[in-house]
Amino acid sequence: MDLSHPALHPRIHCDKVSADGYDITNLVSADLRVRARGFRAEYFIKPPVNVILSFPFHIHIHRIDIDPCVGSNVSLGLQILTHSATSIENWLVDSKPGSTCASLNSTFNPETFNLVGKAFLEERKFLCFKNNRYSPRRPFVGKDFTPGTLDGNAYISNLWQKSPALSRVSHLMVRIVRTQNASIPVLRSVRVYGQPSATCDKEVISLVYQISQSLKSPPNESTTISVQSPPSKEEKVQDTARTLLKGPSEESPGIPLEYLDEITHELMALPMMLPSGHSVDQSTLDKHSQSEEVWGRPPSDPFTGVPYTRSSHPIPNTALKVRIDKFLLQEGKHLGNVGRTVGRRTRSTAHTLATANQNTSHTETAHIQQAPSTSNAVLSSAQVSKCHINISNSASTSNHAPKVSELDTSQCIKDSSGQSENKAKRYSNVHACAETSDLRGPCRKRPKVTQDIQTKCKPYSGSHEEALSQSLDAALARTLGSIPAFKRRRKEPTLGQVAASSLVNEDNNKLHINKGIHGNMTVTAGATGSSCCKCSSPAAQNSCNLLQLPCLHLMCRRCLLQVQQDRVLICTLCQKTFQTGDVVNVHL
């Protein structure tokens, strides 16, 4: 059985200071998440580091499983020492178990420990010390008491056969004597399997048996342990060359080839589509143009060597990015340390973004249906137009598109998620919008944005409670009005002419920016709308793909073909001429 299980309250102690959050008590913590974090010494600590596990009773060791890798740190040299105290306080029987961190008595010193095993790893590996002479005694026999089978990759070392040193152990010391590349001494997990020693009292044995039975009852207990104990299978970066020769199945299991950068063979965080059709990561391109600069050459396509031009340059491969992100969200936990732009914190955003994207059409219809049911539509429209003017003001003053776009993104997400909820929920959601938007929005949000939101929300915040007490609908409409619900506004016939014109422009802008940001595109919006500048049908309606002219205005394919036939390649908005080769596809 697992004698280091938190239910048996083993005490653990380390003679060196540990890093914040990586305390030695993590190894025996009952909290699985804390336990998974493991132990890491403070960065200035050098080996040897002694970690001492003390047990409430004498134990007979069967096997010791050690995972010596935390993050990129690996403890390579490990020694196992045991100590057999004649009398030990049994905190399982005598008193309530206190803290797991034992303050070892002062008489204790490392000299009393017997060395029973040591191992020197050459690479990241799971480590297992085995006692070949172990034989289970009643009642600790049977499948429940045998430790799980080991991963084939584990390094197995035998414990030396010194009878009392293994069969009657009160303290177990794991000494870290060497680390990889002089990194920090670490331990991910230490599990000690065995049984109470033959010298233990009957009551102790029966108590331990009871505890082990109670542990067994939740069926997933053993599985969680076995999940915990196997080594990190995701290890892909093998440092020594020997392991490489084993075969391709070793590394990056299951990552589809198309998600890997063709040059570095790493998972792409920001896939860019090159003019030559290959997709590589942005960081690769940066490095490449850096080394090209050494030779005094402009940035070029690494595959063809053709320098980038205005019309032919890397563009973000958003479709691939979406697929990689989806893959990471699903498989990320098995992959370990891969570069990613979706993380724990942004994950919720990514989800929201995804749903927002899927629901765009749905939301639109919801908007239209909603409009008549809102009793104070006129009021809300007035509020909204005010709000929109606010936005356009801030847009014009800041003249920095991304800033506004971030703000808008967060609000649009909010908006669409709010719409898809039921009414009451939506209300609360929307109310929380101002406070939470800086959390929910893209992670590189700047304080300036929150400021903008606050200033915008000011006019409503004062009378909001009043409005709420009078009528839920009115309050709702008002609060909703503070959000740029631009799609509905376009349908409103009651809107003032001035507001409408500025609105539509602004809306288009936002739609454009919003989508752009969603796809991680870095399109600078400028004064572009998302509608064709000739037939002014928005992209969402005619489902025709838009193309961007060099003057940053958009034109739908149909109009462009027409224009091309007439041989007047002039932008209808700014009257600038352009070449057919300069037109780029825009993916909204």
Partner: protein, 151 residues
């Protein structure tokens, strides 16, 4: 560093699985360190170097694949070729300024084979004696003047 390891790993596997004709990676050399490879090479049949065996030494810097590897001929037999100096240094533009991260060990080997194959007359480069006496150990430190654009 890690990215370089991964890339080299992939290239090694690819080269072992599907090597170009006449090219073999010396696995013993790779076992010691991934950043130094020894590649055995046969002279292509039907050329002046038919039946000869050469050894190439690849050294990869930490910036590989963005930085070109050091490639020299080693071993007892160094091809007598107008672009190969008697100390093993190779005058080949893709090994210095025309390097691209899209190139690989395999493509370098192929380039060298094709360079050898296109040889019409076995002779050393004209400035061989001077160069061998004065050059740096690292061929990448040399400022190459490419006399011949035919290869």
């Amino acid at each position: 560093m890690a990215s370089m390891q991964k890339r080299l790993q992939k290239e090694l596997l690819a080269l072992q699985k599907d090597p170009p004709p006449g090219v073999r990676v010396d696995e013993a050399s790779v076992t010691k360190s991934l950043s130094t490879w020894q590649v055995d090479m046969d002279g292509a049949p039907g050329t002046l170097f038919e039946g000869e065996k050469f050894q190439l030494l690849f050294k990869f810097g930490p910036r590989y694949p963005f930085d070109s590897p050091q490639v020299v001929f080693t071993g007892p037999n160094i091809p007598v070729h107008p672009h190969v100096y008697s100390n093993g240094h190779i005058c080949l533009s893709i090994l210095t300024e025309d390097w691209s991260p899209a190139l690989s060990v395999q493509s370098v080997c192929l380039s060298i084979i094709s360079m050898l194959s296109s040889c019409k007359e076995k002779k050393r480069p004209p400035d061989n004696n001077f160069y061998v006496r004065t050059c740096s150990k690292n061929p990448k430190k040399t400022k190459w003047w490419y006399h011949d654009d035919s290869v």
